[in-house]
Amino acid sequence: MKRRIPLAFKKPKRLNIFLLIAVILCLVPELGVGTYVLRILILSLVFLIATMAWCLISGYTGQINLAPTMFFGLGAYSSALVARHLGLSPWLGLLIGPLLASSFALVIGFPLFRLHGAYFALATLAVGEILYYVMVNEVWFSGGTVGLQVPFSPKILFIDFNNIYFQYYFILVLAFLSTYILYRIAMSRLGYYFMAIRDDEDTAMSMGINVFKYKEVAFCVSGFFTGLAGAFYSNFLLYVEPSLAFGITPALTVVIMGILGGADTILGAWISAPLLTFIMEGLRLVFGAAGAYDLFTLGVLIILIILLLPRGLIRLVTAAKI
């Protein structure tokens, strides 16, 4: 009893819509929206990248990572630590963060991928919590719960890292690049292998697919881009502390954005990340920053989504592999 959802996009048309969105986003600062809205857009783009990366490992490959913050946090702290302990520009974190995060993915994948299904999911949670507590306790290293300040970066020629317009375009470029790369990966032979692993590991192996290797590939790619998002994030906020980078809140936010958009898609995040970021911000405005209204709403949302629209919002638009 399946309703056939009409293919709203054919390839050329899909590209056009995407170009349209890209153009609009490029013009946003010119529309005079003000720095506040710009800040929220920047945040949505950060979460967008992390969400797309999450979808690759959890949606495409079926390995549900409940703590994408393990990568996000490593990326975020890289910038701060690079500045604090090495005295270098925190924007170097943008290089180190992703590399560190994907290396961590590689290493932690060895034990984690011995587990499957819900066991894997909860193990990722345990890993996330361990990292959180390490950051909280090793104050000499991470600044503990007080956190670390990320210092202002110097201006290099016209590259002014501290100008919000520059930051916006920078993250926009990162978002486009990430989308392109992740999308191409998902559509390639890798994508098929990931999906095979998700659907049936035994069958995948009978097709000659080295299941463990490809899980690691997906995990490392996911780690790379999530780390990238985190590295930008701490540079943007000029601050990092454990619950921001490693906490349950950002972790579940990414997961819910992933499911809401369409877990087994890359582009679904383009709908859910901005939408949820604005909703959460709106809730904070109405009920105050201290309230738990945003997470409460997220909780209600995820229940509703799974009950009513489990395949995500993007399925309202297209049934294609996206």
Partner: protein, 295 residues
């Protein structure tokens, strides 16, 4: 030497309470293959209900233990009877299938409960100070606080009652049959829908007992549930999913490990000890210390 002994005793006591929580979680997993991510939050709700009962009516929570239990059981009924059932009936699953769909729904419910509690009751830490809270008694030279002892006794009693129920009653046997082989049980006339509901209610009742007992011992705050859930999950893994005896011993082990770790290693890492043991056990023996699927 006596410090070690006290640490061990304290660990065993807390372990007993963890055990009650874990057994409920293991049961839900055994019957429905779903991990109740909100299990710890059931405990949390019971903790708050006890707190307020004492605050408003000045009744010792242990005397009125059935009220928090009823509240938690009602929530469990709503969750399984409506939400989870609706999801199963719809038959559409996300990602990996039924297991993960249920898990994510319960993640949502956990968030609703935790943050709902925070909205209504504020994130402030509360504590329940009863007239007998500060009494310490001496067991073989070790000084143990009375609430711990009472909590432990209640936990043991609850676990024993649970064990008797599962092994001596028809309903208990029906539940065990469902754990071993759901399809076969259903073919033999077991009403699996009813069993699902009963399982949730029993598990939540146990979580409720744990909550009431916990409220006399620990701080009460909205996010206390997550740690309980994770610990319960760790214990179930340590004991082997589906094995209640295993869960019980796993609980004691965890309690001791935490206690010893907090005193001898570092307080800040108390929670982490469990997680590390968890990962280590999972890697070495994925089916747990006691093997799988027995009661």
């Amino acid at each position: 030497m006596s410090l070690l002994f006290e640490t061990l005793i304290a660990g065993i006591m807390t372990g007993g309470i963890y055990g009650v929580i874990a057994v409920g979680l293991a049961m839900i997993f055994g019957v429905m293959r779903v991990i109740n991510f909100a299990h710890g939050d059931f405990v949390m709700v019971a903790m708050y209900v006890s707190y307020f009962l004492y605050l408003w009516f000045n009744i010792d929570p242990l005397l009125i233990i059935f009220v928090p239990i009823a509240v938690v059981a009602a929530i469990a009924f709503l969750v399984e009877g409506f939400i989870l059932r609706f999801s199963r009936l719809r038959g559409v699953f996300i990602l990996g299938g039924k297991e993960l769909t249920g898990l994510m729904i319960l993640v949502g419910i956990s968030m609703v409960l935790e943050n709902g509690a925070q909205i209504v009751w504020s994130p402030n830490y509360r504590s329940l100070v009863l007239p007998w809270s500060s009494i310490t008694i001496s067991i073989w030279g070790a000084k143990i606080s009375l609430p711990y002892v009472i909590a432990f006794i209640i936990s043991i009693l609850t676990t024993i009652l649970f064990y008797i129920f599962m092994t001596r009653t028809d309903l208990g046997r029906a539940i065990r049959a469902t754990v071993i082989n759901r399809e076969a049980a259903s073919l033999m006339g077991v009403d699996t829908d009813k069993i699902n509901l009963i399982t949730w209610i029993i598990a939540s009742v146990m979580a409720g007992v744990a909550g009431v007992v916990m409220s006399t011992l620990f701080y009460i705050y909205p996010t206390v549930g997550l740690a309980f859930t994770l610990k319960a999950f760790i214990i179930t893994i340590l004991g082997g999913m589906g094995s209640s005896i295993g869960a019980f011993f796993g609980a004691l082990l965890l309690g001791i490990a935490e206690s010893v770790g907090a005193v001898y290693i570092a307080v800040g890492y108390k929670e982490v000890i469990g997680y590390i043991i968890f990962l280590v056990v999972l890697l070495l023996k994925p089916s747990g210390l006691f093997g799988r699927f027995r009661v």
